[in-house]
């Protein structure tokens, strides 16, 4: 029985999900605003509980596995979700609670998070696929949350179709791998999985399914439309938490079963990295809508993470987790600002941000820090994240890839500076007027800023992650 405690994170989250359903029934006819507080509060408790140490081990004959690395990956995602929930406080309370549709938001978000937990913690492909599906399907509901808006509904349909196809491709790949190795368990596959044409094809199919979720080029076409159509909090969730989870899953599975197939997937990842960085950047250059802009920027960012996966050792894994954690904070800071402004004024174009610093200096500074962190400018955290990714890649002699990477960093700096230019340099006749955000939203933004400022400079954080990845 003690063994079941290994699934503590999952159980607590499931408990919260069920509790929310009950709360929904109890609150009929009453003020739904309370749900926002309850859900956010419960999740904060869950996150704090998640910080408690957890034993390592497996359950269900190896279907479910957990260790310190996996556990802390979940904690990193939890922190991201906490920040996100705080930032969506006003949105949920003011926009949705009086329409009686606020519980679903939390229910869906927590369900997909639960799916990601299982995806990361899976010990076989069955559990992995269940996790993948649980992580994907609720997102469609979230994307189409704003049903009355055409774009939102359209984005929802687009997402569910794409997610369905990519899951199917992944499943096809899994079936090939099963056919070759005769097992679904990662540990057994790793032993019986030898280089063969079918196996290589299976692995590539499986990877392309995940590439859809991370929106790596050339599997990224759904990203901008869905990001633009979805409500901002959902976009934020998709581009931050969902992406990080998929990256973690890809890294873990490749580390577990990919050793024999290095010659197959390394070139694939190499070229996907080149394409993702470059294409994401080039498309981001011309975007005028902040959500689309951040969508493409997050496509490009995912390309950089692949450098860490490519190096395929402890240092690479560390830099992947480290960068992802920093990326979560950086992107949440930028999305947080976009969200606050979109909610207060309904304006989402880059030109609307003209003169923002003069009316809302604090928001502009948060945005500035977030963008600098994404662009990799010291002394904020993003610099360290990118530097260590490049170090990991250079350690294996991928100097040309590093050169392509740094060129892309410079290109990305251009479009990040466009936003800075709008906020600081430009003036506007109709600037976004000065306003105050609610306290929880402010805390959400402040947490992101603290992460950006200190995660990089504070080196024990890196050492902490390094310790987690020792027995990968």
């Amino acid at each position: 029985m003690n063994n079941y405690l290994l699934m503590r994170d999952e159980f607590v989250l499931l408990g919260i999900i069920l509790l929310l359903l009950v709360a929904e029934i109890m609150l009929i006819g009453k003020n739904r605003k309370a749900v926002v507080g309850i859900a956010t509060g419960l999740f904060i408790v869950h996150t704090l509980v998640g910080f408690l140490p957890l034993a390592e081990g497996t359950m269900f004959g190896g279907s479910f596995r957990t260790n310190h690395l996996l556990h802390n990956m979940k904690s990193i995602m939890n922190v991201g979700v906490v920040i996100l929930l705080l930032q969506t406080w006003t949105w949920a309370r003011e926009e949705w609670s009086h329409k009686g549709r606020v519980t679903e938001f939390y229910f869906l978000i927590f369900s997909t998070l639960l799916g990601m937990y299982y995806m990361i913690s899976s010990g076989d492909f069955l559990m992995f696929f269940l996790g993948l599906e649980l992580a994907s399907l609720p997102v469609a509901g979230l994307v189409a949350y704003d049903l009355m808006k055409m774009r939102s509904a359209e984005a929802g349909v687009k997402f569910i179709l794409m997610a369905g196809v990519s899951s199917a491709v992944s499943l096809f790949g899994i079936s090939m791998i099963y056919g070759i190795s005769g097992s679904l368990y990662f540990s057994e596959i790793a032993q019986n999985f030898h280089l063969s044409g079918l196996g290589a094809l299976g692995l590539l199919f499986f990877m392309s399914g995940l590439a859809f979720k991370i929106s790596l080029v050339p599997f990224h076409f759904w990203t901008p439309d869905v990001y633009e159509g979805a409500p901002v909090p959902v976009t934020s969730y998709l581009s931050v938490i969902s992406k990080a989870a998929a990256v973690f899953a890809l890294a873990i599975v490749l580390f577990l079963i990919g050793r024999e197939f290095v010659s197959v997937w390394k070139p694939a990842i190499y070229w996907m990295a080149v394409l993702t960085m470059t294409v994401g950047n080039l498309f981001a250059l011309r975007q005028k809508n902040m959500k689309r802009f951040l969508a493409f920027s997050s496509v490009a960012q995912a390309g950089f993470i692949l450098l860490g996966i490519l190096s395929y050792d402890q240092m690479g894994m560390t830099s992947v987790v480290y960068f992802s954690a920093i990326y979560i904070f950086s992107n949440l800071a930028t999305f947080g600002v976009v969200q606050v402004i979109s909610l207060k004024t309904g304006r989402e174009q880059m030109d609307d941000y003209n003169g923002l610093y003069r009316t809302n200096p604090k928001l502009a500074l948060v945005m500035l820090l977030g963008l600098f962190s994404l662009a990799g400018i010291p002394p904020v955290a993003g610099f360290f994240g990118k530097f260590f990714l490049f170090m990991a890649a250079a350690a294996h002699g991928y100097y040309w890839l590093v050169i392509i990477g740094v060129i892309n960093v410079t290109i990305s700096l251009y479009y990040y500076l466009l936003v800075v230019r709008a906020m600081f340099l430009r003036k506007s006749d109709t600037p976004i007027e000065s306003f105050q955000a609610e306290i929880p939203v402010k805390i959400g933004l402040a947490l992101a800023v603290v992460g950006i400022l200190f995660l990089g400079l504070y080196s024990p954080f890196y050492d902490f992650i390094l310790n987690l990845t020792t027995n990968i």
């Binding site: 490049f390 590093v402 060129i407 800075v420 230019r421």
Partner: protein
């Protein structure tokens, strides 16, 4: 805490204090106070440094402090200075302090201006004290990025274009530099410690690949031809204090880095590539000088003259001998001071006449005696008049360059020397058109004379120019002591 880290801590504290102050006058006073303390500290360090040297301490770097930062990656916070770094620190402190005074009249977003300016200064101070490549690179980027806001918000003319061009070119260069730093790291046994790397011999094929990356990476910031194109636009659009700091100090990050990182750590490749880069530098010297002749905008004239003078620095470095190195380092200091004064004066003139076109000015000597006299003095320094700092530096560079007897070096040297004549043309032409002769514009008679903060700012930088010119020995000794190590190191792989 060690004394060198204070150089970074004091500006950071100043910035933090500034965040809580909303009164413009208080912001100015606190900035001046913070950087004033910084300057005094720098002088104090200089005194301590010379005392140590006089006491016979001959280790390469003094005041070192080595703290482990990222242990598993062998990244350290490692600081220390030698004579060259010390000279650069003095230069930075003086120019930064002068910049604070010169900017006294900025009213729009005053606090933000000073915060950005001091963050830039922090980066520069940090860069010069760093002996660990990672820390150095970090400070380099910290120094560059505030330029975007400084030019973009407070600049003039096509400022958005200039700011973006400058930032992207410099950050692009730093990206190239990053590749080279990683290469150095992995080919010298996974360390960023410059002292250790210098002891190790990187494989020659790695040096051949990474030396150009490092040299060009820093060279862009030092306006090495043909990567100088950001510099005229950037300087022309930047506000006065930023032009001063940028041409005076920031560009020296490029030359200093090219010397300390590229050449010092990869000496074999430096020898191999020397002719090529010497050629580029010589072209830059000539090109910059002729470019300056053709310009009518004061800031453009100075920007091109900077390209020419910085070309001389690279030229001296690539001559690969001690005399020329000494000249190159002296030129860094001398040009830093001169160009800072130039830009300060141009800012004052522009603030009064609202034009930077030399053709529209005339006879200003009668109306603005202080500004005009300082301009003439500094112009003389710039064209290398004996008794001022420019002469000492250029003399050393040319004497050094002529020590290479082969044909190609001779050709380059002759070319570079001939640029002195061209320099005289554009300096004297400006002095003649702008300061002498009849007053072209009646409205100029009402122009106000220089106010106190302008005088303080200009004199702060002018006095060292004269001091170095008259008594260069203390500085050359300081530099040559430290050059000893580097020269031996580079000579060991010489022709």
């Amino acid at each position: 805490m060690d004394i060198l880290s204070l150089l970074v801590v004091i500006p950071v504290i100043t910035v933090l204090v500034l965040f809580f102050i909303n009164d413009n006058q208080m912001v100015r006073i606190i900035s001046a106070l913070g950087i004033g303390i910084e300057t005094i500290l720098t002088l104090f360090i200089a005194k301590g440094f010379m005392a140590e040297r006089a006491a016979g301490n001959s280790s390469e770097f003094l005041f070192t402090r080595d703290t482990v930062w990222f242990e598993s990656l062998n990244i350290h916070y490692f600081v220390g200075i030698d004579g060259i770094a010390l000279a650069m620190l003095l230069l930075t402190a003086i120019v930064l302090l002068a910049g604070i005074f010169i900017s006294w009249n900025i009213e729009d977003l005053t606090k933000e201006f000073y915060v950005s300016l001091i963050i830039l200064g922090t980066g520069v101070f940090g860069f010069f004290i760093s002996l660990d490549l990672f820390t150095m690179f970090l400070f380099y980027e910290v120094a560059v990025i505030p330029m975007y806001l400084l030019i973009g918000i407070w600049g003039t003319g096509p400022k958005e274009y200039a700011a973006m061009k400058l930032t992207l070119m410099l950050m692009g260069a730093s990206a190239v530099l990053l590749v080279s730093i990683l290469g150095i790291y992995y080919y010298s046994g996974m360390t960023f410690n410059m002292q250790e790397i210098a002891q190790m011999e990187m494989p020659i094929h790695a040096q051949r690949f990474f030396f150009p990356l490092a040299f060009v990476g820093f060279g862009v910031l030092g306006a090495l031809f043909p990567f100088h194109t950001w510099s005229p636009d950037g300087h022309a659009s930047a506000p006065t204090a930023v032009s001063m700091l940028h041409a005076g100090v920031l560009m020296k990050l490029g030359t200093y880095g090219a010397f300390r990182v590229a050449m010092y750590l990869m000496p074999q490749a430096a020898n191999e590539y020397s002719t090529f880069f010497m050629g580029l530098a010589a072209i830059g010297v000539i090109y910059g000088a002729f470019g300056a002749i053709r310009q009518t905008d004061l800031k453009y004239i100075n920007a091109y003259s900077s390209v020419s003078h910085l070309g001389l620095i690279f030229f001296g470095m690539m001559a690969l001998n001690k005399t020329a190195y000494t000249g190159a380092v002296l030129q860094m200091i001398s040009h830093g001071l001169m160009t800072a004064v130039f830009f300060a004066l141009i800012g004052m003139l522009y603030g009064r006449t609202h034009t930077r076109d030399v053709r529209k000015m005339g006879g200003l000597l009668k109306i603005l005696p202080f500004i005009a006299v300082v301009y003439v003095i500094i112009g003389m320094a710039s064209l290398g008049l004996p008794g001022l700092s420019g002469f000492v530096a250029e003399m050393n560079i040319f004497v050094g360059a002529f020590q290479n007897p082969d044909f190609i070096h001779r050709v380059f040297s002759v070319l570079a020397v001939s640029a002195i004549v061209v320099t005289a043309v554009y300096i004297l032409r400006v002095v003649g058109m702008m300061l002498m002769g009849p007053v072209k514009n009646e409205a100029f008679y009402k122009l106000p004379k220089a106010v106190w903060y302008e005088r303080v700012g200009a004199l702060l930088v002018l006095l060292p120019v004269i001091a170095i010119g008259l008594a260069p020995m203390w500085l050359t000794t300081l530099i040559q002591e430290s050059l000893g190590h580097i020269v031996e190191h580079l000579a060991a792989y010489g022709h």
